[in-house]
């Protein structure tokens, strides 16, 4: 009976069995990379908004504090979104006739359609994130939101995956800063900065129980 396989197939079969392991591992690596990739998470993609609001202009240029618009951020789970009134505080004086601001002016009229912003940082419904406690514990806005003061339209800079959350919840010292620097997006730790001082001062605990965020 003639041989079906040539001798060289011995090598091929060894390589393919051995290679399958690498192939599967590579597949896993690709999958893991893909779900974290901006392509999948939507990071670094500017989100269209009804009014092309620029944080770069307002925060970076005009140096308006985060809390001028996001009023609830120190007290509530939700940072709070500026009311039409907040916009109109200034825009009844400047850029009064700008066509870009037409939706804001419309919404400010009694009975006008309210503004509908598109959410940029979108967590699943079963995740209960609380802004106020993070602020209080000395976690800067920039740690999650990135350099918003450099964004013409806002985008997300992190994956917002659970492992990203846990990375900080397990090692909070990576991101702690003095409370007075929380809203300073450009703050860099000084050379002699010791996070442990603030870990103790702010009584920061590593909270990783499921019910901290899920309930």
């Amino acid at each position: 009976m003639p041989q079906i396989f040539h001798r060289s197939f011995n090598v091929i079969s060894r390589v393919s069995i051995f290679g399958a392991i690498f192939f599967l591992a590579a597949l896993g690596w690709v999958a893991a990379k893909t779900v974290r990739a901006p392509y999948y998470t939507g990071a670094f993609t500017a989100i269209e908004q009804p009014v092309p609001f620029s944080h770069r202009h307002h925060v970076g240029g005009l140096k308006i504090d985060c809390r001028y618009c996001h009023t609830a951020v120190e007290e509530s789970a939700f940072a709070g979104m500026p009311t039409s009134k907040t916009c109109m505080n200034c825009h009844s004086q400047i850029w009064v006739g700008s066509p870009m601001l037409a939706p804001v002016r419309e919404s400010y009229k009694p009975g006008g359609p309210p503004l509908e912003w598109n959410r940029v940082h979108q967590l699943p419904d079963f995740v209960y994130f609380n802004h106020s406690i993070h602020i209080h514990k000395g976690i800067g806005c920039v740690s999650c939101h990135g350099r918003v003061d450099e964004m013409p339209l806002t985008w997300q800079v992190h994956t917002l995956h659970m492992d990203w959350c846990l990375d900080c919840h397990r090692n909070p010292e990576q991101h702690v800063r003095p409370r007075e620097q929380v809203f300073n997006l450009a703050w860099e730790p000084p050379v002699d900065f010791d996070p442990q001082v603030y870990m103790e001062k702010y009584r920061i605990q590593s909270k990783t129980s499921c019910s901290v965020c899920h309930r």
Binding site: S76, M81, P82, T83, E116, R203, K207, C210, S211
Partner: protein, 1056 residues
């Protein structure tokens, strides 16, 4: 023993042989039938794990396949981008994302109970009690908890209707203007009548009085569960009606004469608060502090079965029974100095004239009660007559109270002027007379127009008045109500009523304290108006907002005692506090009006009947009340105390009566159907002159013999998608002559059976020593009695440094260690906690079919354990939430770690991780886990979306869920405490069940905080855990029940 049912002699034999359990949950369990054994061993009942009807197994697999495929696809897609819609102008006070609480009041039967309503960005979602309000004292009942669901009920009426066609409020205004006597001045035209329910609102009463003062235009009142008897009873004594206010905290000995004072009626939350407060005892004060309750009643109620001594007695014989202690007290108190001799003489005479053969065999029992009353400290006893008892019983009870020195503000009962208002022109008229007079006027054609403000008389008026026929003769009929119900259908005009959370108003509590009701939300439906607004339109011919009407009243009638500040300050303070300070009525002097003996004697003789007759007792339903809550799914699915029936009512009767009538007890298991399904025999109830009613029969331990109880509120024909066609309407049997109890009932068994959904046997723990109880004396001598029964391997392990009985290391708790203690001595089984839990945690309703499959979703259930003979047992109520075990069996078996131990000791349940294997539930010995077999949560109905608590995930199909100690509240409190840089204070986190509990039976807190209430109670000698022998080390523990029985041999008491 046959498995199909049970036999009373056999059951008794079993008890005698101590074969059955000491504490039992149902008659079947007591009998130990095979069927019972079968579902005992099933975690979920047979066939609960597949879709049964009408889906076949193949179809089921198809559906599964399809949904799996979809699930796979759904995993790859991304959720749609959400919108954020900011305010245009932010309302004052609101911090975006944080709830606000507003004080207002909810009324039932007119009587107010103060509440604080939680509002999330303008959406009321949860009701809590108002600690400053005398009728709430911080607690709520199941009705108040469920009221938010009624607010968002998708079946609420949405527009004004003119003969069924949509119309407008402007059209109503036009119609109303035609009903005015004079276009310029106030007052309704001749022939315009109004029908209301009980009114305690000062503003509304003012409007009604000024509008309907004339002879030709009258104000009539009717609601099916009213205070007629109590008011008339007081009138027998005083010559005019008075309102009795009870102070149970002062009472050492309480005798309930058919009064279910712990579960319904004006002020019941305050009653429970005061009554249970005397039952949360330490060993050192058990005997001195504890009160004692005697109950005489026909229908087993949670009040009665909680009592130390109970006499099941047909309701119509309670009057004859009360004559016995009257006689006994008359002679026992004769020599005392400060007793009014007239009162004693009256008691003796009435006692003699009330003598009856029917209660002869209970004379010794009654005499023993009288001895205990006479022996107790003067002014520290209380006889409490039930709303369903005739006026003579009320009068007799208060005479005895007077003889015992109980009447006075510092004692146990005092009288004030009536809280309810009625037309002033012709004195007090009972509501049944008031309605009868209206019907008479309608039949005579004197009523040209009738405004029905609230209520549903077509459904619930006494059948002998034939209200419907009379109503049809009225040329103009207008009905204001929340739903388009039976009455709306027969009215020309229907105006949607604003819910109490949508409208301004005011109302008085049981002691007269007024609350200004403020709305939490604008009416959801355009055209919705309150009764105040409707009458104001009649009065002033313009559309006045309720706010202005109420404000104007209080500006003119501001109580002088309310301080000297300006009106604005008064108004703001009243709204903030949820009550108007200084409006509680002062006590009136107790002075008997001449001729009282004859009046009472005459009334007392009316009630006498021959002995052989069977009686029918009508009672308000513990969940639906008089039927007004019929379209509320939370209440429909709430297991009624003691019967544990859901979604139905039944003719309740004693085991002996059932046997005599050859009615078989409900059959379950393989002979009846599935887990919760009970096949009940049908019986025909007949009363002379009324259509017979065929209803299922339900055998209840502890019911009086020769007596049948049927709860009101069922059999609605136009309630809505939830309530229509549920149960059987007892109103078709109820007459105006005998609204609460009628003798002469003929009862026969019908062919066929009817499926009832009762959760009585669900989630049986099959353990021993689940309930531990002792007498007060025993507790004093042996405080740790509860810890000596049963085998508890883990008890004291850590403290004594012994090796823990586990291979795993102990969990360290550096921060908080949450725990809960439930006091069985205090719990009266009212079920407010169950609905509170449902409201707080977005727990869905599953419907009757699913309950019959054992799939109800309540995270917290109330296990009811009976003890003693089936004819006359005691009951112990044991609320069972998740035990949050230290060695949790559920945690070990989850393949995906969806349930895990938290750093603070909770067994976290992670819904988004759960894949629905149900291993955890299978391994849970306490049976506290609930599985979403189907898509129970309603994602579709728009109004119900507003109802959900935004802090809790709405669970989907295929997910396990359970009690989490309200972890959302823990987290919120922890975050607030961290922001203050301190620890959570004791009492800062209240779980939903704890907050609702009027008895203070549930205590939650940090076990690591040595001085917290929960830690102190946890260290109490009464503390024990359920199924401790499994070494699960439950975190929720119980305090053994302490009872304070009288050891008089004449009382033939069941052991505690």
């Amino acid at each position: 023993m046959g498995s199909s049912g049970l036999d009373l002699p056999e059951v008794q034999q079993r008890l005698a042989d101590a074969q059955g359990r000491e504490y039992w949950r149902s008659l079947e369990e007591l009998a130990g039938t095979e069927a019972f054994q079968e579902f005992l061993h099933r975690e979920f009942p047979s066939r609960a794990s597949e879709w049964t009807n009408p889906v076949t197994r193949r179809r089921f697999l198809q559906i599964m396949g399809a949904s799996l495929a979809l699930a796979g696809l759904a995993g790859c897609s991304k959720s749609p981008r959400q919108k954020i819609v900011p305010y245009r102008r932010q309302p004052e006070e609101i911090v975006q994302g944080k709830p606000l609480f507003y004080a207002t009041a909810m009324t039932i039967g007119g009587y107010a109970s103060g509440v604080l309503v939680e509002s999330h960005m303008g959406r009321p979602i949860k009701v809590e009690g108002n600690p400053d309000h005398p009728a709430s004292l911080g607690a709520t009942d199941a009705f108040a908890q469920a009221s938010v669901l009624t607010l968002y009920d998708p079946d609420r009426s949405r527009s004004v209707r003119d003969r069924g066609q949509p119309s407008t409020w402007t059209a109503v205004l036009e119609q109303l203007s035609k009903l005015r006597k004079d276009p310029e001045k106030g007052g309704a035209a001749d022939g315009v009548h109004v029908l209301t329910e009980s009114v305690t609102s000062p503003t509304l009463a003012g409007q009604l009085t000024s509008l309907f003062g004339g002879k030709g235009s009258r104000w009539h009142r009717y609601q099916p569960c009213n205070q007629d008897n109590a008011l008339q009873g007081a009138a027998l004594l005083f010559g005019k009606p008075h309102n009795a206010v009870y102070r149970l905290k002062n009472a050492d000995v309480v005798v309930s004469l058919d009064a279910d004072f712990l579960s319904c009626g004006p002020g019941h939350l305050a009653h429970v608060h005061d009554f249970s407060g005397r039952r949360r005892v330490e060993a050192k004060d058990a005997v001195t502090k504890m009160n004692r309750l005697y109950a005489i009643e026909a229908t087993p109620t949670s009040t009665g079965l909680f009592a130390e001594h109970r006499l099941p007695l047909p309701s119509h014989q309670v009057g004859a029974f009360a004559a016995v202690p009257a006689r006994e007290l008359a002679s026992a108190l004769r020599d005392q100095v400060n007793v009014d001799n007239d009162v004693l003489d009256g008691l003796r005479r009435l006692g003699e004239s009330g003598r009856s053969e029917a209660v002869a065999r209970h004379e010794k029992w009654a005499a023993a009660v009288a001895r205990d009353l006479a022996k107790a400290k003067r002014g520290r006893t209380l006889l409490l007559p039930g709303d369903g008892q005739p006026s003579a019983v009320h009068a007799l009870a208060h005479l005895m109270n007077s003889a015992l020195g109980n009447i006075g503000e510092k004692d146990t009962v005092f009288f004030t002027r009536p809280v309810e208002a009625w037309p002033e022109e012709d004195g007090f008229r009972s509501q049944r007379d008031s309605l009868a007079r209206l019907v008479e006027a309608m039949n005579a054609g004197d009523v040209k127009a009738l405004l029905i403000l609230g209520g549903n008389p077509v459904y619930n008026a006494p059948v002998d008045l034939n209200f419907e026929r009379a109503l049809r003769k009225v040329p103009f009929r207008l009905h204001l109500s929340l739903h388009e119900d039976e009455t709306s259908r027969l009215c020309h005009w229907h105006v949607p009523e604003a819910h109490y959370l949508e409208a301004w108003g005011d109302a008085r509590a049981f002691d007269g304290t007024a609350t200004i009701q403020q709305p939490l939300i604008a009416p959801l439906y355009e055209g919705a108006r309150s009764a105040l607004e409707l009458l104001s339109a009649l009065e002033e011919r313009r559309d006045q907002p309720g706010h202005d009407i109420v404000r104007r009243y209080w500006r003119d009638n501001r109580p002088s005692r309310s301080g000297s500040g300006d009106f604005e300050a008064f108004w703001r303070e009243a709204l903030h506090d949820g009550k108007v300070a200084g409006t509680a009525f002062p006590a009136e002097k107790f002075s008997l009006d001449s001729g009282w003996i004859d009046r009472i004697g005459k009334e007392l003789s009316v009630g006498k009947v021959e002995r052989s007759s069977i009686e029918i007792v009508f009672r308000p339903d513990p969940a639906l009340y008089d039927g007004r809550f019929a379209n509320n799914g939370w209440l429909q699915e709430l297991p009624r105390p003691l019967t544990m029936l859901t979604w139905d009512n039944a003719a309740l009767m004693s085991p002996r009566t059932a046997k005599r009538l050859e009615v078989r007890p409900p059959r379950r298991g393989r002979h009846g159907g599935e887990h919760g399904e009970a096949r009940a025999d049908l019986v025909r109830l007949e009363l002379p002159g009324r259509d017979p009613l065929v209803v299922p029969a339900w055998v209840v331990p502890g019911h009086a013999d020769d007596s049948v109880t049927i709860h009101l509120g069922y059999g609605r024909t136009r309630a809505g998608r939830v309530g229509t066609g549920v149960g059987f309407s007892a109103y078709t049997l109820r007459s105006s002559k005998a609204p609460w109890c009628e003798t002469g009932l003929t009862i026969t068994r019908e062919d066929g059976t009817y499926p009832l959904a009762s959760t009585q046997q669900h989630h049986d723990l099959n353990g021993t020593n689940l309930v531990r109880a002792a007498k007060a004396e025993k507790y004093e001598k042996e405080p740790a009695f509860a810890q000596k029964v049963g085998h508890d391997p883990a008890h004291g392990v850590i403290e004594n440094g012994r090796i823990p009985l586990s291979l795993y290391a102990d969990h360290p708790y550096e921060g908080y260690k949450w725990g809960m203690v439930i006091d069985l001595s205090a719990c009266v089984g009212c079920s407010a906690c169950v609905v509170a839990c449902q409201a707080e945690n977005n727990i869905p309703v599953v419907g009757k079919e699913e309950v019959m499959r054992g799939r109800e979703m309540h995270w917290l259930r109330i296990d009811t354990y009976f003890k003693g003979k089936p004819e006359d047992p005691r009951a112990y109520f044991e609320p069972v939430p998740c035990m949050q075990c230290e060695n949790a069996p559920c945690e070990l078996v989850c393949p995906v770690e969806a349930t895990a131990h938290s750093s603070e000791g909770l067994n976290d349940m992670v819904y988004n991780r759960c894949v629905g294997t149900r291993y955890c539930s299978n391994n849970c010995p306490y049976k506290v886990r609930r599985f979403n077999f189907l898509q129970y949560a309603d994602y579709a109905t728009e109004t119900l979306k507003l109802l959900h608590n935004p802090d809790v995930t709405v669970r989907s199909r295929g997910v396990m869920e359970k009690c989490t100690y309200c972890v959302q509240r823990i987290n919120a409190a922890r975050i607030e405490a961290e922001k203050r840089d301190e620890r959570v204070r004791d009492g800062e986190v209240l779980t939903a069940c704890q907050a609702a509990c009027p008895a203070g039976a549930i205590v939650f807190g940090d076990l690591n905080h040595r001085k917290s209430r929960v830690a102190i109670l946890h260290a109490s000698p009464r503390n024990y855990g359920l199924l401790e022998d499994l070494n699960t080390r439950p975190r929720t523990t119980y305090l053994a029940a302490i009872k304070n029985p009288n050891d008089d041999p004449d009382l033939h008491t069941t052991d505690v």
